[in-house]
């Protein structure tokens, strides 16, 4: 190698805290995970107990309302996890629910529905927010999934978010122009709800998506909740449909209607009334009442469905989905 005297200027730095990223450290965690094809089927309660610890950095795909791990988020609240750091990318109501439930004290912002509770928690300093955006958070996860410590991005520069983030503006090593680099993100836990998975964790997702693959590879622990458990034979019949490989996965939970009250594209529609209810709870500062009803007053998902939803409603949601589920959502 030609050694060099050159330097690259760091032109500006955000002053936000960020979860320290060292790809070598992430590799040490990954080294501990089993490589063989082990059965990982377990119940939701066990999965959250075993793989979500107080203080963890948590991400989820997509969100509470759209093919998201809504059931897993409710179980985290039910188990009263504490001091989580949330990756609040492309999320609607999850941040507000987890924050008001007392589960988190830090949020990396992409997008979420705010309201009186989050304003109060922010002003009281009980939840600290660091400012990014959906695409920047995705770039951070992508870096984490590539095993590198940062990525250059062409957005984010010049914003006030940059100032309150972990990003830097540096001289580009090739063009010499200013370029923003954002720190990789290696979450402790990713919650991913999928259409189909086998018992080892090979997972299929139908439809467009946000950053399922990036989250799975970037995270130290991965919990898959799945609408359907399919055989590994079925997985092997159409390998092009597998989005997440088994070795990244720690727990597989069979959780039909796991995205309820949200939609799981092609499988069921959202429960429009419930969606209205959770938005109203956030806007009208009644999140605790919402949680009492939908989380704390029931012992688990099955209990919630039988007490508060009913088979008729679930059938209706499936029926409404079939209108558009003509193609593309099944092998």
């Amino acid at each position: 190698m030609e050694s060099s005297e050159k330097v690259l200027k760091v032109l500006a730095e955000g002053k936000g805290d960020y979860k320290l990223v060292d790809p070598d450290e992430h590799r040490r965690s990954i080294k501990q995970k089993p490589r063989g094809m082990r059965k990982k089927l377990m119940g939701l309660r066990e999965a959250i107990e075993r793989y979500v610890a107080d203080g963890d950095y948590l991400v989820w795909e997509i969100n509470y309302l759209q093919r998201g791990p809504a059931a897993a988020i409710r179980e985290i609240i039910r188990q009263r996890k504490r001091n989580l750091w949330l990756g609040g990318k492309f999320t609607w109501v999850a941040v507000a629910l987890l924050a008001e439930a007392g589960c988190c004290d830090r949020v990396d912002v992409g997008f979420f529905v705010s309201g009186p509770a989050l304003t109060r928690l922010a002003l009281e300093g009980r939840v600290k927010f660091y400012e990014y955006s959906n695409l920047v958070m995705t770039a951070r996860l992508r870096a984490g999934a590539m095993g590198v410590s940062f990525l250059p991005v062409r957005s984010f520069g010049g914003t006030d978010g940059f100032k309150y983030s972990g990003a830097k503006l540096i001289e580009d090593p090739f063009t010499g122009k200013p370029v923003v680099v954002v720190p990789a993100l290696n979450p402790d836990v990713a919650l991913i709800h999928v259409h189909q998975a086998d018992e080892f964790g090979n997972a299929r997702i139908f439809g467009a998506s946000i950053s399922d693959v990036e989250s799975a590879l970037a995270s130290r622990k991965v919990i898959i909740t799945a609408e359907e458990i399919v055989s590994t034979e079925e997985i092997r019949h159409n390998p092009g449909l597998t989005k997440i490989p088994y070795f990244a996965v720690d727990a597989v939970v069979h959780q039909p209607f796991g995205s309820y009250p949200g939609e799981c594209a092609g499988y069921y529609a959202s429960d429009t009334e419930h969606v209205g209810e959770v938005f109203a709870a956030i806007y009208r500062d009644r999140i605790k009442e919402y949680l009492d009803k939908w989380v704390y007053s029931v012992s688990n998902e099955e209990d919630m469905f039988s007490k508060l939803v009913g088979v008729g409603k679930l059938n209706e949601l499936r029926r409404r989905a079939t209108i558009v589920a003509t193609e593309g959502y099944r092998p």
Binding site: V109, S133, G161, A265, V275
Partner: protein, 309 residues
């Protein structure tokens, strides 16, 4: 006229179509935005609300060869309308008959290399240089209100060639300096401010469309400039509801926008905003009475409850 023409403005009565005689101001805004959509272009559209309605209406009526993407990985969808509440992204109806389903990184890459011509965003607060706030109202982070965050808007505003902003025409929306730059406009307005911050060349705010007016950005100063007003307001009213004074051309260079057509409204009301979530969320209404436009307040018609999109 010495100013550059704005696409879709000034062909009134609009395409010779039947003019509507009563409409919500937000409906008017969507129709104006739809007419400004440039056919044969690519759009990155924020999820839901005015931006998406306008591009969908444009595709139906004026710009059949427009292809739009959304941050959940959709390219060129022909969505099944209407959407369920909130289900405007990452759901089956908006994804229907797309040309491609990819991911957020996929759309990020397509936009990064420059395939997306226009971005369309809603904004909570905008300043003379088109900077957008969606993070915090007040003095960050110690006083005021926590808002939703930029979502995908930061990137839409950074990498699309031309950025179109939509906002309600209210004094609190147009501020001399946004409380927080969530998504970049021309930043402090200085030459090459965007490039020096690491953003791609040849990008930036292009137009702001409100329920009362259309603005563009003057090339030299990169400041907001009034270009057209609704037929039911005056220039004075428009300026009176702004927290700063935009560039105001000579009166004969300010065009008067054509009101919605019946056809536009029918599509909007029967196919898109069927629950009234969008229109009913704001009470401002315009009716044609006694040979003039009158502005009135109106109760929600469809009982949509809280104004979530």
């Amino acid at each position: 006229m010495s100013l550059p023409k704005l696409h879709g403005i000034g062909e009134g009565p609009w395409r010779g179509e039947e003019r509507a005689s009563a409409f919500a101001e937000r409906e008017f805004q969507v129709c104006i935005a739809a007419r400004m959509v440039e056919d044969g272009s690519t759009y990155w559209v924020a999820g839901g609300g005015g931006p998406m309605y306008s591009v969908l209406m444009a595709k139906r009526l004026y710009a059949p060869d427009v292809v739009y993407v959304t941050e959940d990985g959709l390219v060129g969808a022909e969505p099944l309308l209407p959407f369920d509440p909130v289900m405007t992204l990452a759901a089956a109806r908006p994804a229907y008959r797309a040309l491609m389903w990819t991911t957020m990184s996929g759309i990020g890459d397509q936009s990064g290399v420059g395939y997306l011509d226009y971005g369309v965003l809603n904004t909570l607060q905008v300043d003379p240089y088109g900077n957008v706030n969606s993070t915090w109202l007040g003095s960050y982070p110690s006083e005021g209100r926590r808002m939703n965050g930029p979502g995908g808007a930061d990137t839409i505003a950074s990498v699309c060639r031309r950025l179109v902003l939509m906002t309600d025409h209210q004094r609190r929306k147009f501020v001399e300096r946004v409380d927080f730059i969530s998504s970049p406009g021309y930043l402090d307005g200085s030459p090459r401010a965007r490039e020096l911050a690491g953003l791609p060349e040849d990008t930036g705010p292009y137009a702001v469309i409100t329920n009362w007016a259309v603005f563009d950005f003057e090339a030299e100063s990169r400041r907001l400039r009034l270009r057209a007003i609704a037929p039911f307001v005056t220039v004075e009213q428009v300026l009176g509801e702004m927290g700063f004074r935009p560039i105001v051309p000579a009166p004969d260079e300010i065009q008067v926008l054509d009101p919605p057509t019946e056809r536009e409204l029918t599509i909007l009301r029967t196919e898109m905003d069927v629950r009234g979530q969008f229109t009913d969320a704001a009470p401002d209404w315009v009716v044609w009475e006694d040979n003039q436009w009158k502005m009135v307040k109106r109760e929600p018609q469809k009982g949509a409850g809280p104004g979530f999109i």
